[in-house]
């Protein structure tokens, strides 16, 4: 129980100690980049996010756009931006100006890692590619994250989450036969690219902690995504069995391991669905008894080979049964009997009513907007619980701290730089 109490403390403002000796000089934005440094900030790193004062930080397309936080509107009221940048500090630097570049050099000198998810080549053009960064601080860790990576024939190509998903195979493998790809109905690879980016930063920092050696990690979202359909890819390379074949993909079914029935069926009410996964013949026997209809007790369904062979028919029969049931009650009945099942939960249901998720939704204090909710981390750590106490920083909110306390500029110098649009 000590562990639980420990993690629950994190819901207050106590900062995590795990990375409290780490400072990140952070150029990331959107979700694929900002999602990564949000995790590092939750683990206690001091993440200093840099934005362009001239563009008002709008390189990040999520800044100042819906969904709005409550009734607030404007540059600081974007709910997605707030979610992905919670817990970080925010400063402004106009890198068109040589004085801003000098300030950035000073910041890099006192940082452990530099992170960015610009298009490939942007940092070099700004004069802050890896070799430049290394000349400022020899042991710097630099992690770049863009759709197609820094090298290769498509290095100049642009990407968003759905594009990385399309090119890597994730879109194709999500859908039903004889229909267009359903794909992922959101930027799954922006989330997941962020997870790989956070992982890359930490692996490189561990190596530096043990050896003193920094390095550059070139993360391409399409490659991170390309590792996520490993079994299907191997089936093609080893067995020459392509995924592009008749009847495929059917991602509501299960090919590895083979399970049947395995899918999503309609239940009572509007757009209500239940997922059921029968892992073996024993579980089918349980399900067939619960169904209790003539067809379900037929011998022809007792063996998985037969269920797979006539799966279309079996799925149709199941539909006639599930349609008359409440999805929540039916799922609970199946779970109680030992058969994996779950209602397809709608956002309100999983966020407001599913008590098992309660610790994930964190109330933070946003300087301009006030209290609001963001996603936390689905992890408990007994000694160094994560913590997210603050919403996203307002544009330039921490200029005074970073340029003053950290880099030693006087109030007067900071005022001048602000007046001359350097910061």
């Amino acid at each position: 129980m000590a562990m639980l109490n420990g993690q629950r403390k994190s819901m207050t403002s106590q900062k995590s100690q795990a990375l409290d000796n780490i400072r990140i000089c952070d150029f990331t934005g959107q979700l694929a980049g900002a999602g990564a440094t949000k995790i590092l900030a939750a683990f206690g790193a001091e993440v200093i996010r840099i934005e362009d004062p001239i563009q008002q930080g709008k390189w990040d397309i999520l800044r100042g756009v819906p969904p709005w936080i409550g009734n607030a509107r404007g540059l600081e009221a974007g709910g997605a931006f707030n979610n992905h940048n919670a817990g970080k500090l925010g400063i402004t630097l106009n890198l068109r100006d040589s004085r801003a570049k000098e300030l950035l050099r000073e910041l890099v000198r006192v940082s452990d890692a530099v992170t960015e998810n610009f298009a490939s080549g942007v940092m070099e053009r700004l004069g802050f590619g890896y070799e430049d960064l290394r000349s400022i601080r020899e042991d710097i860790v630099y992690v770049s994250n863009n759709g197609f990576g820094a090298t290769g024939p498509y290095a100049a190509f642009k990407s968003w989450g759905p594009i990385a998903q399309a090119v890597s195979g994730l879109t194709y493998t999500s859908g039903l036969p004889d229909l267009p790809p359903a794909g992922w109905g959101y930027s799954f690879m922006d989330h997941t690219g962020g997870y790989y980016m956070a992982t890359a930063v930490l692996m490189a920092l561990i190596h530096r902690q043990r050896t003193g050696q920094g390095q550059w990690v070139d993360l391409a979202c399409i490659e991170a995504a390309g590792t996520l359909n490993g079994v299907a890819t191997l089936d093609a390379t080893v067995n020459q069995r392509p995924m592009r074949r008749e009847g495929m993909p059917n991602s509501n079914r299960s090919q590895s391991p083979k399970m049947s029935p395995h899918g999503i069926w309609p239940t009572k009410g509007h757009d209500n669905w239940i997922a059921i996964a029968v892992r073996d013949d024993r579980e089918w026997q349980i399900l067939s008894q619960i169904i209790g209809e003539t067809w379900s007790s037929e011998d022809r369904w007792t063996r998985i080979e037969n269920r797979v062979q006539d799966e279309d028919e079996l799925e149709e029969l199941l539909t006639t049964w599930t349609l008359n049931h409440d999805r929540q009650e039916l799922a609970q009945e199946l779970i109680n009997a030992g058969v994996p099942s779950a209602p397809v939960l709608k956002p309100q249901e999983r966020i407001e009513y599913d008590q098992r998720t309660a610790e994930l939704w964190v109330t933070v204090e946003h300087t301009e907007v006030g209290q609001c909710k963001v996603e936390g981390l689905p992890v408990r750590m007994s000694e160094t619980p994560w913590s997210i106490a603050r919403g996203a920083a307002c544009l330039g909110e921490h200029n005074q701290y970073v340029f003053g306390e950290l880099l030693g500029l006087s109030d007067e110098e900071i005022e001048t730089l602000a007046a001359e649009s350097v910061i």
């Binding site: 759905p162 090119v167 050896t211 079994v231 299907a232 390379t237 956002p347 408990r380």
Partner: protein
């Protein structure tokens, strides 16, 4: 500083993984970056060794492609944790470990006297990672990747415009992946903290909450305005239905248009390409594209407010759809990207790994299988480290590294 002579980021760390579908990716991610990951299997082998597809379609516990993929770079020992002798061996093995990763049914290891509580008092540096349904203090309902993605949120957002068609589970066992994607950085942060504090800790990753934390706008629209997103074919689920972003090209392949052209450079590039292809006469939106010269940038929020902007934006979409009717998906993809427009071809996994860019970056990884005297192509590095490169060797045979047990007290 540790004298690390290897060029692996995680060289010298020992990780014990209790074999399971649910945590295999976490072990693989650490092993491919140089940690010594010892996967502990039951004497008959991990159940995933029995899963199709098999190499050459020959069912054998050393042939499962599932096993091959998720267990690269690991070592295998076989132990019957239910037997006293093997339980002692497991305990001795854990004493040598920096990290344990397990996703066993709740209570199983505790009942065997082999859980965190039994180890951490004698090994205070141990980092123990449990991947559970929704916490070590929660319940443990029967669950699969499908049911987790259904109750965890992703399924609600995936599917088709026609809501009579069931919502869709995204392929590839991503519920387990996502929990592992949270487990690994948590373990790494714990290792970093241990370097200074000398203390290990318990990490408890929730499968259910991992999916809940990975739904993008479904959660964000609810947390910030209590609006429910609706699933849409091949594009973002949003509170309102939006226009298509997926088209079928001349060769039958699907294509993601991304965000259509929004500034004058993009409109010009699109127009000049249509001219180069000598398709102007057949392209009905061509004339309207010329009006794109008036726009430095069309904001997506302005489309309803400025009728001309909306019309030009729509012409850009239609022009791309028109090009798709005349070009193969690959040519449309490369052609638009080379002209500065973000878009993507919808590849199947086998097409992805054969694409010139993936090949050019060295993504396909050749792994040698000495028992088959051949190499097979695996998906390769998810990231490229300049000093400590990712690398992978074949998954271990059952009990291949049993000798490791001889070195234990």
């Amino acid at each position: 500083m540790t004298d690390v002579t290897s060029n692996s980021a995680l060289f010298g760390y020992r990780v014990i993984e209790v074999a399971s579908e649910r945590c295999a990716l976490a072990g693989k991610m650490l092993a491919d970056m140089g940690a010594e990951v010892i996967v502990v299997e039951p004497p008959e082998g991990c159940e995933t060794r029995l899963w199709e597809p098999f190499a050459g379609d020959v069912a054998d516990r050393e042939n499962s492609l599932h096993w091959w993929h998720y267990n690269t770079s690991k070592k295998s020992v076989a132990l019957d944790l239910e037997s006293e002798l093997d339980a002692q061996r497991f305990a001795a093995l854990v004493k040598t470990a920096d990290v344990v990763i397990e996703a066993e049914p709740l209570g199983r290891l505790d009942a065997l006297g082999l859980d965190w509580e039994q180890f951490h008092l004698t090994n205070q540096e141990l980092i123990w990672t449990s991947i559970t349904h929704h916490g070590r203090d929660g319940t443990d309902p029967p669950a699969t990747d499908l049911t987790l993605l259904a109750e965890g949120g992703p399924v609600w957002s995936c599917g088709y415009d026609d809501h009579a068609i069931p919502p869709v589970r995204g392929g590839g066992n991503q519920a387990f992946h996502t929990a592992c994607h949270y487990a690994v950085p948590s373990i790494l942060a714990a290792l970093m903290w241990r370097e200074n504090s000398g203390k290990g800790q318990l990490i408890d990753v929730s499968l259910l909450n991992s999916s809940n934390a990975t739904t993008e706008f479904a959660t964000l629209w609810w947390l910030n305005g209590e609006q429910q997103v609706e699933r849409q074919t091949g594009r973002h689920a949003l509170p309102t239905m939006t226009e298509w972003t997926q088209i079928q090209c001349a060769d039958g392949r699907w294509f993601n248009t991304g965000v259509p052209p929004r500034n004058k450079q993009e409109f010009r590039a699109l127009r000049s390409w249509i001219e180069e292809l000598e398709l102007v006469d057949q392209c009905s939106p061509y004339e309207i594209l010329k009006l794109g010269d008036q726009f430095e940038r069309i904001g997506l929020l302005e489309l309803d407010e400025d009728p001309l902007a909306g019309e030009v934006f729509q012409a850009g979409r239609e022009a791309i759809e028109f090009l798709g009717q005349h070009l193969n998906a690959y040519d449309l993809f490369v052609g638009l990207q080379e002209r500065g427009m973000a878009c993507g071809i919808v590849y199947s996994p086998e097409e992805m790994i054969g694409d010139p860019h993936f090949v050019g970056r060295g993504f396909p990884e050749q792994i040698f299988y000495e028992n088959r005297n051949t190499t097979h192509t695996h998906p390769g590095a998810p990231y490229r480290f300049s000093a400590t490169p990712w690398s992978a060797t074949r998954a271990p045979w059952l009990g291949e590294h049993q000798d490791l047990l001889n070195d234990l007290d």
